[in-house]
């Protein structure tokens, strides 16, 4: 008598990849726009990125229904915060909120792999990377999703982030300029698209800096 297994899963993986890179006075957040299910493409034009606050942008890959639900919860929480405090949430505060929100569903998680990017209190770029249940840390760059295994080693090589275990704490942000960082991100996706079937179609890039926020698109291979 073998144990019966579930023949229905509440989750699905819609694929896709997210990347974020922090600079001295900017932050680049990027994600592809392909949404898939199994070996099928559901759409070539779905945004995985949402701007939660003035200085916080969230990119999430994984199960997009859970991602959407997570985005709505965070947006509602942010509105409450603004009513109470008369100001927008800072990126580090949003980072903690995201962690708590994810852990709240520890026993039925949001199937979302998140990268939060933005500017910290000093105006420096900051990137926070998460697992599905809210474990997070601040890093200089990060990649999540189906193409992350292809992108992360490349970013490690190019951006040489110091280990967070080293003391004294070293600055994790890259000394690259904004345009150099954007080019780097474009290269990452162009490469990941070649070998990861779930990544492609179009790349959406958001650049956050002192003068505000900017959006850019780049075509990717559609096969």
């Amino acid at each position: 008598m073998t144990k019966q297994q579930a023949n229905w899963s509440p989750y699905d993986n819609n694929g896709g990849t997210c990347v974020a890179v922090a600079g001295t006075d900017y932050c680049v957040i990027a994600a592809d726009t392909r949404m898939s299910s199994g070996y099928n493409i559901l759409t070539r034009d779905y945004s995985k990125i949402i701007q939660l606050a003035d200085k916080s942008v969230l990119a999430s890959s994984g199960f997009q229904a859970d991602v959407r639900a997570l985005q709505k919860v965070l947006a509602a929480k942010h509105l409450q915060y603004q009513h109470q405090h008369n100001k927008q949430m800072s990126c580090p505060a949003m980072a903690q909120l995201l962690s708590n929100t994810l852990y709240y569903k520890r026993f039925f998680p949001y199937y979302a792999f998140n990268v939060l990017g933005g500017l910290d209190h000093e105006g420096k770029g900051c990137v926070f990377t998460y697992d599905a249940v809210g474990s997070y840390e601040r890093v200089g760059y990060s990649s999540q999703g189906s193409g992350s295994t292809l992108i992360t080693p490349f970013l490690d090589n190019q951006l040489k982030s110091p280990s967070p275990l080293l003391l004294p704490a070293r600055d994790a942000v890259t000394p690259l300029s904004e345009s150099e960082a954007i080019d780097l991100v474009k290269t990452c996706f162009a490469s990941a698209t070649e070998r990861d079937i779930y990544t492609g179609d179009k790349l959406e890039i958001l650049v956050l800096n002192a003068s505000g926020i900017r959006r850019e698109y780049m075509e990717l291979r559609k096969d």
């Binding site: 709505k72 919860v73 509602a76 509105l79 409450q80 009513h83």
Partner: protein, 289 residues
């Protein structure tokens, strides 16, 4: 209104069919400092007088943003007003979460009114001691509502609540027919004029009042002090000039009252006169405004 044997509980009717506790709650609204609302086809303006309990303290917040498309001005127990504002904010947030569209103003005021009614029918509760002027925009246009502690609500073209509000109401009754097609600037001007009426001689400056606007393409926001002072100077209504100095507006002959009855509820006490400078104003308990 005199103390009698039927006014101890909100759940006790008087032989004349009145709930005295509810009426006493509406008294609390009349003791608060004035709040005024006006609306046109496309905008709603809320204005209120800032009363401080002493020269040393800051003034109480009487206008609250509820959502981008709704704001509220209160008179009475400010603490009750704050709590109800929080309720309204949450309702708007939850509605948007579910329907991804703005909560219509008419729906919000009904929910608010139902919440107030509950407190008039429970022996362990008391009515909210605050009147709310809810101004907002939705698909059916600009709206101004008045919610009172009894659980009643009415829609208005213009209304005033709080102490000395009768003076403002008299001004509004004369001008209200022109409000629907008023421009945003004229609406604010009329709000300032109406506000000045309640000050009865005191100088109108931006430190004494707060103005908030919501309109088509304009999210609800409170105007900052400089803007308000500029508007006051522009309309030359500071100082103690007689109201004769108003700009030439077509004089409204028939003094038809505002669109809905002033007083909420059938059995309203007749005795109270808003224009009497309530001595209770200055000696009001700190929680009252």
């Amino acid at each position: 209104m005199f103390r009698n044997q039927y006014d101890t509980d909100v759940t006790t009717w008087s032989p004349a069919g009145r709930l005295f506790q509810v009426e006493y709650a509406m008294e609390a609204v009349k003791q608060g400092s004035a709040a005024i609302g006006l609306r046109s086809k496309s905008h709603v303006v809320l204005a209120c007088v800032n009363k401080t309990s002493s020269e040393l303290s800051s003034h109480q917040k009487k206008i609250f943003k509820v959502d981008d498309h709704i704001g509220v001005a209160i008179a009475g127990l400010t603490a009750d007003g704050r709590v109800l504002s929080r309720y309204m904010r949450n309702e708007c947030i939850n509605y948007f979460y579910t329907y991804e569209s703005q909560l219509p103003v008419g729906r919000l005021v009904v929910q608010l009114a139902d919440k107030a009614q509950v407190c008039t029918q429970r022996s362990w509760k008391r009515p909210y001691g605050v009147g709310l002027l809810v101004g907002g925009l939705d698909e059916s246009g600009a709206h101004l509502y008045y919610n009172c502690p009894s659980g009643n609500y009415f829609e208005y073209q213009a209304f005033a609540i709080g102490s000395r509000s009768q003076a403002a109401k008299t001004y509004l009754e004369r001008k209200f027919e022109s409000f629907m097609d008023s421009s945003r600037e004229n609406l604010i001007k009329d709000a300032l004029f109406a506000l000045r009426e309640t000050l009865q001689g005191e100088k109108l400056t931006s430190s004494v009042c707060t103005i908030a606007v919501v309109g088509v393409g304009e999210a609800f926001h409170i105007l900052d002090q400089e803007t308000v002072q500029e508007l006051i100077n522009e309309f030359e209504i500071a100082g103690e000039e007689a109201p004769v100095a108003e700009p030439a507006a077509p004089d409204q002959a028939g003094v038809a009252g505002p669109a809905a009855p002033d007083q909420a509820g059938a059995a309203e006490p007749a005795a109270d006169d808003d224009t009497l400078a309530a001595p209770g104003d200055q000696g009001a308990a700190p929680m009252d405004m």
